[in-house]
Amino acid sequence: MEGLLFNVNNGYVEGIVRGYRNSLLTTPAYSNLTQCETIDDLKLQLGPAYGDFLASLPPNPSTSALASKTTDKLISEFRYVRANATGSLAKFMDYVTYGYMIDNVALLITGTLHERDTRELLERCHPLGWFETMPVLCVATNVEELYNSVLIETPLAPYFKGSLSHQDLDELNIEIVRNTLYKNYLEDFHNFVNTHSDMAGTPTAEVMSNILEFEADRRAINITLNSFGTELTKADRNKLYPTFGKLYPEGTLMLSRADDVEGVRLAVDGVHDYKTFFDAVSLGGSSGPGNMGGGSADGKSLEDMFYQKEMEISKDAFTRQFTYAIIYAWVKLREQEIRNITWIAECIAQNQKDRIGNFISVF
């Protein structure tokens, strides 16, 4: 049924995004990249995909310059798609940017808290999370003013309202603020895709629920793992878990009670995917709790496996038609691609070729 009128409004955008998806780097392209000896070679190899954006780079650019240029491409494409989107699709794309907006606002809060000139911070903000009234936030000189301007000027107001007061911004660690916002955002997004009349019951709701649930679970698990050994109390931790997802409610409850990695493992036992991740991690590198990073060359960290899973979900999103979810999936795939390129560039620049294969190639 949803296919009947989808193309009237959104057919063009869907076509464009599918085209963008086809221009993503493939495994052979990645294997070409890993053969590069210098950043210049890498630049050359990236030519077909990123040509115009990399052209302005000086010879042997820094990896961060490379990353920012590749991000620029994503931004310009995203803006193009956004400009062509109408109605609920436009709203959906705005939702996609809220996540980045949260990061930007958190950055500005940090700056304001430490009485820095927040105008300088605007350059550091993620362009996807840019909103027109953001420079207004820089006028604020103290946290209370900032809080009020955020409430008035940004679409993030609902996420602040009810769960954070301006005193909280002062007292709580910025990471807790950020994760509270993110939790509210995820819940709101989830609610949006499942209740909006254009999306409820369509493949969009189905795919996006799947993606968002995974994202919620990933955050819950990560927050739990990362909070071991910090001053974050269990009660506070519990407030940061999104109230949906495959783990919710039993898994989240168990997560909130977990004291160590073993506790987390028990909590996620009910979900097959996560259980496999944890089993693989405990098999791969027994480097102890909290140290999931790839200590060994081939051992994949939990983080890596989450990314891998995210990419698989995103890839699967393209198997569905008449859905907005492909835009979200495309953004995620492109982000992963940028991360991959940065990683390969870092490995080349730092001469650490043995770990160069640690990226995630989807296609």
Binding site: T63, A67, D103, A106, L107, T110, G111, L113, H114, R116, L121, R124, H126, N173, I174, E175, I176, R178, N179, Y182, R218, R219, N222, I223, L225, N226, S227, G229, T230, E231, L232, L240, G290, N291, M292, G293, G294, S301, E303, F306, E335, R339, T342, W343, E346, C347, Q350, N351, Q352, R355
Partner: protein, 267 residues
């Protein structure tokens, strides 16, 4: 040591000879002391290293620097891992949330044969985890690991700094001591010796002059005496002549006392 020119401006007196001798003795004592100090210092460096000092120093610093390079490389790479996992720049947040130094150093002073060498000692303040929550949502483990790697890198840096400062200071001191040893050995001692030689020669000269003068005086005295004797004799002879004319009248009793006419013995 341009001969007589290189000496101290002193009057060649017996007193200054005494002073110079005392000075020479002092210089020799000082020389041997400084020499020993210099040896002690090079030995201190030898404690760290076994045989050829200069080679060992460079080797050790080279080693430290290489280690530094390796550690820094790992650290830089772990930062790359962080940016991969977090997918963004966390630098600003980390900068802003760091409130107090977690990694600190103490300076100690090592006393090596009178030279004060600073030694840096690093330590971690407990329970200081300012940005412990960074990357809570994702990448937190990588952030913490990166922090540890960089802490190790700073540790290596401190070690290297400590080593190098010690070496620089030690080197300076050794140079100064060696300069002093050389100065004493090649300048002060020869000069003092020259001065002593000079004073001695002057004194000898004076002695010779004095002797010559005495001799002259003695000669003169002798001559004067001889002249006086001759005069005396002449006078006596004249007197005798006068008396012999008189004694021819009463020679009887006179013969008893002066049977023979002998000369007066003049000494």
């Amino acid at each position: 040591m341009s001969g007589a020119a290189d000496r101290e401006a002193v009057f060649p007196t017996r007193q200054s000879l005494g002073i110079m001798k005392a000075k020479l003795k002092g210089a020799e004592t000082g020389h041997s002391l400084l020499k020993r100090k210099s040896e002690a210092l090079t030995n201190r460096r030898r404690l760290h290293h076994t045989t050829n000092i200069a080679l060992e120093i460079t080797r050790r610093i080279d080693e430290a620097k290489r280690k530094m390079g390796r550690v820094m490389q790992i650290a830089a790479f772990s930062l790359a891992e962080v940016s991969y996992a977090v997918g963004g720049d966390i630098g600003y947040q980390v900068q802003e949330s760091a409130k107090s130094a977690r990694f600190r150093i103490r300076t100690k002073q090592d006393n090596v044969s009178g030279v004060l060498l600073p030694a840096f000692e690093s330590y971690l303040t407990e329970g200081n985890n300012d940005f412990g929550l960074t990357g809570l949502g994702k990448g937190g483990q990588q952030v913490q690991r990166c922090r540890e790697t960089y802490a190790r890198a700073v540790e290596a840096l401190v070690e290297l700094a400590s080593l190098q400062t010690a070496f620089v200071i030690l080197d300076e001191v050794i140079k100064v001591v060696n300069r002093r040893v050389n100065a004493i050995e090649h300048v002060i001692i020869p000069r003092t010796e020259n001065t002593i030689k000079y004073i001695n020669s002057e004194l000898d000269e004076l002695d010779r002059e004095e002797f010559y003068r005495l001799k002259k005086v003695a000669n003169k005295k002798q001559r004067d005496n001889a002249a006086a004797d001759a005069e005396m004799k002449a006078r006596r002879e004249a007197m005798e002549k006068n008396e012999s004319g008189a004694s021819k009248q009463d020679s009887g009793p006179a013969d008893i006392l002066a049977a023979e006419d002998d000369d007066d013995v003049i000494f």
